[in-house]
Subunit: 544 residues, 2 copies
């Protein structure tokens, strides 16, 4: 038919290459989901590893198709990573985190995340300078070495989430994951500080300024997140008191969380910290102000978004590894690659060991209760589980060593070797961690394979089942409904709380929360459904 | 503190302007949601109008801040629109559409969408050529006039969705909305055909080729959507038979729907049609194969995504209206603006009247049942509700008249006037339609204010309440559970089906569906929950 070809040819009003890369990535993510499901019973595999390997494999296929020219479908884009992929992951982590465990271990998390990262940063910076010079690299500056210190100190909280399990190992999970969030923030702050530092007039003042900056960033970022979270709770409570609209509620929660990240970035704060605490506050207040269907939807929709972003990141990093141009640019021998990568890897191992074991023992020393002490096997796993490096490392590495005015062989080499480190650490440490935890700590309480689904359901069913009975006793409710505490720990109750300072702080907080915060911002037991409202009451009867 | 400023300054590793525009847009969307909620009881307003006006207002504010330089925060981007914003809206429309009503009116929808759009296209093309020459514009070519014909024939299905209500006026909704989807596809095909047409050897062959192309596009696009939908049902049924993972299920549904759109675009088919039918098939099969929490989540999450995209589009268009550069470029007097815009508007009015009334009467003539005939007041509303022009019009107009080699005053004028038409038609027709329907057809069966929430809940509660009782009688179930039929229409039952040919087709389809399709692809009553599975059974007890 004459003309058809021509008409069809012009039919797409936008760039075809974008469509192609989106199509490829979506197909690959679908494949990852299916393969991940099939491998669910497998104790070695997890979704990160599957997508990383699938990324490498498809990078190889693209390379073959293009006859060795280039494996790039999408160029690694920091904007894509920091603006679109990271926020949903961190927000969901804050939203689903077991708040009680997290705050109970807050001091441990902070010391590991801040002091630990600083120790690791110093050690890796010095070590990398020493080792790279030994290998024979000369073009890098002091700033570059310091940047490498920050880059290699950024643990991968995404992969950690998949390897550890919130229900099986709550202490480990909260410490390693909490540390990961604080660590991300610390490394990014360090990295930016190092990048902009003028090293010619390095003084004690600079170090002080760095510390001041860090404290300022940490506090303001947290406050901003809490503020936006409370605002969302207040708006939804005031506006939708009697009349719920699920779509609007979820849209508002999602958008305000994202807004908190964006405002933090605009104010040059740490968006990661902000959106994390926004998630924590939203799950404590806002989530209880919305309709039943919104609760179910928000839990799962946020988890799904985070899941898709995670898978995408690993695919992306995997695919990027086979980017042949980068390898050509660095112009180094296999020996150099191996030497640099193993130098980096061993520095990561040493840098992490250098703070986990000492800090854990110092913290143990301050704790009177032997139950709360971190024993050696747990210390070992904390060390091990934080060895993985991920997308933050890749993103920072690109930021430091590419696109700048002076693109040299050695700078390309740094990017390539960072990628090798990420790939290797995720594959090796990611694979071994799950079996290792089982070997050291024994079998988990319930089957690992279903675990990923259970926390959210646990969260969900308790309000459904118990909210009527405990309606008029929020104090009691707090303990029973939070779903955060172990049965073992519940027994102690009031006497336990008064015994230890962190417990006392928590007790005061709960009093304050019940008396001032919840009446204003809503929360469990403080939102009244009007029986006559079309959805408030109807919702429940629909779903029951 | 020395150094702090410097460190903070460099802290964002990506373009600040992107962050600013995202922050502004998200804040505005939040504001739209809140204002939209407060105006819910208002019979004149709807969310489209709110966001359009808010967009214009914030465009004005930006203009003031930048002292009249430019109101652009985000340049109108076809890629953004066609790749990211449009698919979720159309997919959700297919996913939530009342299938029975849609297929019952399929012939009406097709004739309006295809034949009607063609009639409108011809009339507007000829009319615009005549009128613009009268006004004194001379630079435009025949191709431009034909493009304008296609651009001005694209009705706005997004705004229609907000003005009409699926529960109050099911016939109207399915006809106007269904027409909108087919019309979008038709106009885009026409537009692309016209853009690539060589008018020097225009012949009967070209017209035939155009028709052939259209049929080819329509059939293959639909088939592709159905195929991907069935594939998703099959995968989820096979893989998750006994073990459900909500996040994976939702991710897979979402990604496969998006994949269908992308594949269609890659194959130069109509992505809109494909993703629409993918949504229809997914709600018929896939949705019944997933866990209870996935059903609730998918319904609301897809609706939320669509809602956010819609709000964004209208904000975007509103903001774009005050883009001062465009107005300067066209270099025309207020009189010319008014003349061209009113010429366009009257052509839209005439072009739509020219096919709605004749076609409706022809269709009435073929129908024996007087119940199914479209009476004059309904015809009038169909005509009226399709007069709004929206983002598709804007996107096509930018595609035709900007960025090309020859940017002339008159081409910029066309873009500006299209924007005026979109703004004016959305504001005027959008505001008046709801009260008009009430005035003509009488008050709706239930309060309009809650209506947006009720369809989805209606959908949700029925499987919950009845799935146990009707488990072993899918035939009966189909009628009761679909939630698509009016009580009035249910009475007829089997005898009614055999009376009319469309009914017979539907009956055969249902037999086929129950015997062959559902056993393979799942669907209501054909998915067995294993009582021992951790989530299948547990899910239900959790939520009941």
């Amino acid at each position: 038919m004459f003309g058809v070809e021509k008409i069809l040819h012009e039919s797409t009003p936008f760039d075809t290459s974008t469509v192609i890369s989106i199509t490829v990535f979506i197909s690959l993510i679908c494949l990852c989901i299916i393969i991940g499901h099939l491998l669910e019973e497998n104790r070695w595999a997890n979704e990160s590893i599957t997508s990383l390997l699938l990324g490498v494999a498809s990078g190889g296929v693209v390379l073959l198709i293009r006859k060795g020219q280039n494996s790039r479908i999408l160029v690694f884009n920091e904007e894509l990573f920091f603006i679109y992929l990271l926020p949903p992951i961190i927000f969901n982590a804050g939203f689903q985190v077991k708040k009680k465990q997290f705050f109970k271990n807050f001091s441990t998390i902070l010391s590991f995340g801040v002091v630990g990262t600083l120790i690791s940063f110093c050690l890796v910076s010095v070590g990398v300078q020493f080792l790279l010079k030994k290998i024979g690299l000369t073009q890098l500056s002091v700033n570059d070495y310091l940047a490498l210190g920050a880059i290699l100190s950024a643990t991968d909280s995404v992969c950690t989430l998949q390897v550890l399990n919130q229900d099986d190992t709550p202490l480990l999970y909260s410490v390693v994951f909490g540390e990961g969030v604080v660590n991300d923030a610390t490394s990014i702050v360090l990295f930016n500080a190092v990048q902009s530092l003028d090293l010619s007039n390095l003084s004690a003042m600079t170090a002080l300024a760095l510390l001041g900056t860090f404290l300022y960033l940490f506090i303001t970022s947290t406050l901003l997140g809490v503020l936006v979270g409370l605002l969302s709770a207040f708006i939804i409570k005031k506006l939708y008191l009697s009349r719920h609209s699920t779509d609007r509620e979820i849209a508002l929660m999602m958008l305000m969380a994202y807004l908190s990240y964006m405002i933090a970035e605009l104010m040059d704060l740490s968006g990661i910290l902000t959106v994390f605490f926004c998630g924590v506050v939203m799950s404590h207040y806002t989530w209880h102000n919305v309709s039943e269907s919104s609760r179910i939807t928000s839990k799962h929709a946020f988890a799904t978004m985070s899941f898709i972003s995670e898978t995408f990141i690993f695919l992306y990093v995997g695919m990027d590894t086979l980017d042949i141009d980068k390898w050509k640019e660095s112009n180094a021998s296999v020996g150099t690659y191996l030497a640099v990568s193993s130098a980096m890897l061993s520095l990561i191992l040493i840098g992490r060991a250098a703070f986990v074991f000492p800090l854990a023992n110092i913290l143990n020393y301050t704790k009177k209760n032997s139950d709360k002490k971190i024993n050696f096997s747990t210390q070992f796993i904390i060390w091990w589980a934080g060895l993985m490096r991920g997308a933050v490392t890749v993103a920072l590495s690109y930021n430091a060593f590419s696109g700048s005015v002076e693109v040299s062989n050695e700078r390309s080499l740094m990017i390539s070797c960072t990628l090798i480190v990420v790939l290797f650490s995720t594959l090796l440490f990611g694979t071994v961690t799950k079996p290792l935890i089982r070997a050291i700590l024994g079998a988990p309480r319930h089957a690992v394979s279903y675990a990923s689904d259970i926390p959210s359901l646990e969260y969900l069913d308790i309000p459904f089942l118990e909210s009527q009975e405990n309606q008029d006793n929020p104090e009691n409710q707090e303990t029973n409904l939070n779903g955060d505490e172990e049965p073992r720990q519940r027994r102690g109750g009031f006497s336990l709380i008064m015994k230890y300072p962190t417990g006392a702080v928590h007790h005061i907080w709960r009093k304050f929360d019940n008396k001032f915060m919840r009446p204003v911002f809503g929360g469990r037991g403080f939102v009244t459904y009007e029986p006559a409202s079309p959805t408030g009451a109807a919702d429940i009867s629909h779903e029951q």
